[in-house]
């Protein structure tokens, strides 16, 4: 009998379409069932009958919204929890918590076994092509996915590393060096037509013993460097969006990567101890004509603010260096704040003693201005993050409103960075640089928690130098507002 299947992705923001749910959709449509896909808690589907509800989950810090979504749909199912299937990353990382909170025993890991969702057949859902059609249902409901004009898939699964900050070893413990993407892409073309881009979510493709076969497959699918697509001649693009392992990049592999239109090529620069390996890998990419690079910079893990600055600075300096090369490679830095794998909200203490709440917020304020990535331009970087580690430290400690409103309105007409600062920023910098290291520690301990009370408490005890800077923190709104009023009014 034809069943009514509801697929749900909780209402968090995502760039990538929910691949797992798309595969489940393919499976149920194969069986002749009716499939509906919704985003979040949808009151329209609440008054309909459903044979099964599948809920995908993603980051653990979406815990609250995810749990509320599951509760919403178990109520929709009249509490027949056996009809509700919850899977995905969060479900695999926090299965017991989810069970205690929602009454549903989640499905852990991949859908690689038909028993996991009580199938009456032997179809491996993980191997099915994703159903792109369901994305349109959601898009008409005022939510839009990016990256839909792309074949989404994997040419390998799992990772050979077991990095503490990464969930892959839990989620996909077995490394599989080769998955046939030709089959996948052919299936997608049959079902949903051709796509411009190829997004491969491989976690460590450079570790694959069949790396050459994978590159051959990609080329065979028409993704050769310079290839175009469709009547409008749009560029073909390949993206290994989870990044490549710099430690495994060598001349031979880079040569092969250069045969496909990687846009961008992504590397990770997780620790300053990898500096040498990382820089070599980037130079290699430049040598083989890689134009765009977009590199992940992990922070708040076991790093320090000064080496975080240094890692971004290395990219800026490399950009400068590459300007005189033939390729003119440009590297965008993507700072990624570490959030522990079991964190149920975004701001949890990671135990890193060098970072604190205030510093993390300050970085966020700087990044917000740039909307995410750190641009390759040197002047821009120096202005945003400071000209050296000390200036970066001074910016991190600055009141949030100062960071947000650092520059005078006509800054573009002024040459020096100091000249562009608002007067209160100049005062702050002077005051900060006059502090001894002990005084700096006092200042940081007062502002670390981003709590007004703590600043007030320290203020009473502090000496004059620290007191002046703490005053800025207590009065930031007033100071900034007063300086914003144009003189002629």
């Amino acid at each position: 009998m034809k069943k009514r299947i509801l697929l749900v992705e909780p209402a968090y923001k995502t760039k990538y379409p929910p691949l797992g749910l798309m595969k489940i959709s393919t499976y149920h449509k194969m069986k002749g069932d009716e499939v509906v896909f919704v985003k979040g808690r949808n009151t329209d589907v609440q008054y309909q009958y459903w044979d099964r509800v599948y809920i995908g989950t993603l980051f653990t810090w979406t815990w609250k919204e995810t749990v509320e979504t599951i509760r919403f749909y178990t109520t929709t199912l009249f509490n027949y929890t056996g009809k509700c299937f919850v899977g995905g990353i969060l479900a695999s990382l926090l299965p017991d918590d989810l069970f205690n909170e929602t009454g549903i025993q989640p499905i852990e890991g991949l859908l690689d076994n038909p028993r996991k969702i009580e199938q009456d057949d032997e179809i491996i859902i993980d191997e099915l092509p994703p159903d792109y059609d369901i994305l349109e249902q959601v898009e008409s409901n005022s939510f839009k996915y990016a990256n839909t004009d792309a074949y989404l898939g994997y040419a390998s699964r799992g990772c050979i590393r077991k990095c503490e900050f990464c969930a892959v070893s839990t989620f996909e413990p077995k490394y599989i060096p080769y998955v046939d993407i030709k089959k996948l892409v052919t299936n997608i073309i049959d079902k949903s037509g051709e796509k411009q881009r190829l997004i491969l979510m491989d976690n460590n493709v450079l570790a694959s013993s069949r790396f050459d076969d994978i590159i051959d497959d990609i080329k065979e699918l028409g993704f050769e460097k310079g290839a175009t697509f469709g009547p409008t001649k749009r560029k073909r693009i390949v993206d290994f969006n989870q990044g490549l392992d710099a430690r495994l990049l060598n001349e031979r592999k880079m040569k092969r990567l250069a045969e496909i239109p990687l846009e961008p090529m992504r590397l990770a620069f997780d620790s300053i101890s990898m500096k040498k390996t990382y820089v070599e890998a980037v130079r290699l990419a430049n040598k083989y004509g890689q134009k765009e690079m977009s590199n992940y910079i992990l922070y708040n893990f076991d790093d320090r603010p000064d080496d975080f600055y240094e890692r971004m600075r290395i990219n800026i300096d490399l950009n400068e260096e590459f300007r005189s090369t033939l390729t003119r490679t440009s590297i965008y830095s993507f700072p990624m704040r570490y959030i522990p794998l079991n964190a149920k909200h975004r701001y949890v203490d990671t135990g890193n003693q060098y970072w604190n709440n205030k510093f993390l917020r300050s970085v966020q304020v700087i990044l917000n201005v740039m909307k995410g990535p750190v641009m390759p331009g040197k002047q821009f970087f120096l202005q945003a993050f400071g000209r050296d580690k000390d200036e970066f430290e001074a910016i991190l400690s600055m009141p949030g409103e100062f960071i947000r409103n650092r520059l005078v309105s006509n800054w573009k007409d002024i040459d020096t960075i100091e000249g562009r600062w608002m007067p209160y920023v100049r005062d702050w910098m002077n005051g900060f640089h006059q502090l001894s290291s002990v005084e700096k520690e006092l200042l940081v301990s007062a502002i670390a928690t981003c709590d007004h009370k703590s600043v007030e408490n320290q203020y009473v005890k502090a000496n004059n130098g620290v007191k002046r800077l703490l005053e800025y923190h207590l009065e930031e709104d007033k100071i900034v507002a007063a300086a914003q009023i144009p003189r002629n009014e």
Binding site: G82, N100, G103, N141, S142
Partner: protein, 487 residues
């Protein structure tokens, strides 16, 4: 006289067919645990009933550190049916059938117990799957044969301390149609309403209620019941959530005694709410609930029939605890056994609570109706004069106001009818707010600003729903398309 047969369906009726809700089986086991804890010497430290639900293995365990059962008594206690040695006056259970409650919902039901001073523990296993097969089979068999076939008792050496004592119930390979026995939040909600759990420590009135109940209700006692490591509390809090997205506060507690000529039959408490509306049913505290030995009797509606309309009970929050020992719960625990004393209790309830509160709620609700009508009239006249003075936003709005004004009739005062008549004319002559000359003077950017603000207002003011979101997106598209076309 020929031998009388006790057929297989007796066991079926007492176990699988006994309860309508699988969670009731848990209630029976917790009742046994608390009875067993009561038998401990007074100075015993920290007694606890621990429930562990394991979703992966589809199993559940209820474990207590009450007195346990000595090994020589295990067979008679756990295999006999309807022959409990418990004292019906001081125990919550006494019929000797409650432990069968789990048979219908798992493949194997295991009891493991040890009493103080023994070096062994005893395991009593009921193969409930086999049992059900035998009952559903064609063969006619008697209860004795059935139990003999499906059960086993085994004694084993105990490696822990000799002074340990416990009783554990394990339900293995659970299957109930809704998965309720594996649904931790559902179990938590059920137990917080049914089990003899304490009030939340932060429920301000809890201490006062405890004090009074201990004074008047001899069987009143709280137990430390833990579900997957989290303690169970009754869900009463000072703030009570009502159905229509509003709250009420319990500031005072009213205590009630229900008596016959000589004895106190029951003692209870009520939170003094303002009776604005019914209490949210998902809060787990709506209605006056009847408890016996601090365990819920029946469900939250057991006393609802004693109000003029059953819904009136849902305006209230409180508990009624039985005091008189002659009030005996029936074997399903959904009511008392029928008796004159039960009749007396219920009549007293009607007299003291049922009727007084029914009439109070009705009067208040009528008054609110009148107030509302008055408010509505006020709002209507205000809207009408706004349209007259500033113009209408859409013709739909104008027509709606006119039609409402047309409805002002004999029910209202002569003055109101007169005013309505006059307003109808003026509203009908009113102008479109956007057609006035003012709007023409605005620049395109200003108009776009206004539209943007409109969207902002819509997004923040309308309740989130797909329909509302669709509306906003549609408006947005209309505006942006317009903007693009003009560029």
């Amino acid at each position: 006289m020929s031998k009388i047969t006790f057929g297989k369906y007796i066991l079926d009726s007492l176990s699988i067919g006994m309860y309508s809700d699988p969670l009731m089986a848990l209630r029976e086991y917790i009742q046994n645990s608390t009875d067993s804890i009561d038998l401990l010497p007074k100075d015993t430290p920290q007694s606890v009933v621990e429930i562990t639900v394991d979703g992966r293995n589809r199993s559940l365990e209820i474990s207590d550190n009450g007195v346990g059962i000595p090994s020589r008594k295990v067979k008679s206690t756990l295999l006999n049916i309807g022959a409990s040695e418990k004292d019906p006056i001081n125990s919550r259970g006494f019929r000797g059938i409650g432990r069968l409650g789990g048979l219908g919902y798992c493949d194997t039901l295991v009891f493991i117990t040890k009493s103080k001073g023994e070096r062994t523990y005893t395991t009593c296993t009921w193969e409930s799957r086999l049992l059900r097969q035998l009952i559903n089979g064609r063969r006619s068999i008697d209860t004795y044969f059935l139990i003999d076939k499906a059960t086993s008792v085994k004694r084993s050496a105990y490696s822990g301390l000799e002074k340990d004592h416990f009783f554990k119930v394990q339900m293995l390979n659970i299957h109930d149609s809704r998965n309720d026995l594996l649904n931790v939040p559902a179990i938590r909600s059920y137990l917080s309403q049914v089990a003899p759990a304490p009030f939340y420590p932060d429920f301000v009135s809890g201490k006062e209620i405890d004090r009074e109940l201990l004074k008047h209700v001899p069987s009143y006692k709280n137990y430390n019941i833990v579900l997957n490591k989290e303690q169970i509390f009754k869900q009463y809090r000072s703030t009570v959530s009502l159905c229509r997205d509003s709250n009420d506060e319990i500031e005072n507690i009213q205590f009630v005694e229900l008596r016959d000529d000589t004895n106190m039959l029951a003692f209870g408490w009520l939170g003094n709410l303002n009776l604005f509306g019914t209490v949210n049913p998902t809060s787990g505290v709506d209605g006056i609930r009847l408890r016996c030995g601090n365990i819920l009797l029946g469900n939250k509606d057991t006393l609802s029939a004693l109000f003029k309309e059953t819904r009136f009970n849902h305006y209230l929050v409180g508990e009624l605890h039985t005091v008189d020992k002659r009030l005996i719960p029936n074997s399903r625990r959904d009511d008392f056994e029928d008796s004159a004393i039960k009749g007396k209790l219920f009549s007293e309830f009607i007299k003291e609570i049922g009727i007084p509160f029914s009439s109070k709620i009705r009067v208040l609700s009528k008054e609110r109706g009148i107030d509302k009508e008055r408010d509505n009239m006020g709002t209507l006249f205000k809207q009408a004069s706004a349209v007259i003075n500033h113009g209408y936003l859409s013709s739909h709005q104008r027509d709606r106001i006119v039609s409402h004004l047309n409805n002002v009739n004999g029910r209202h005062s002569a003055q109101e009818v007169q005013l309505a008549k006059q307003l109808i004319e003026e509203v009908s002559d009113a102008q479109d707010i956007l057609s006035t000359q003012k709007i023409a003077k605005r620049t395109k950017a200003q108009v776009i600003d206004v539209l943007k603000m409109t969207l902002d207002i819509l997004c923040t003011e309308i309740p989130p729903s797909t329909a509302a979101n669709n509306l906003v997106s549609r408006l947005y598209r209309v505006i942006t398309e317009k903007e693009h076309n003009e560029d």
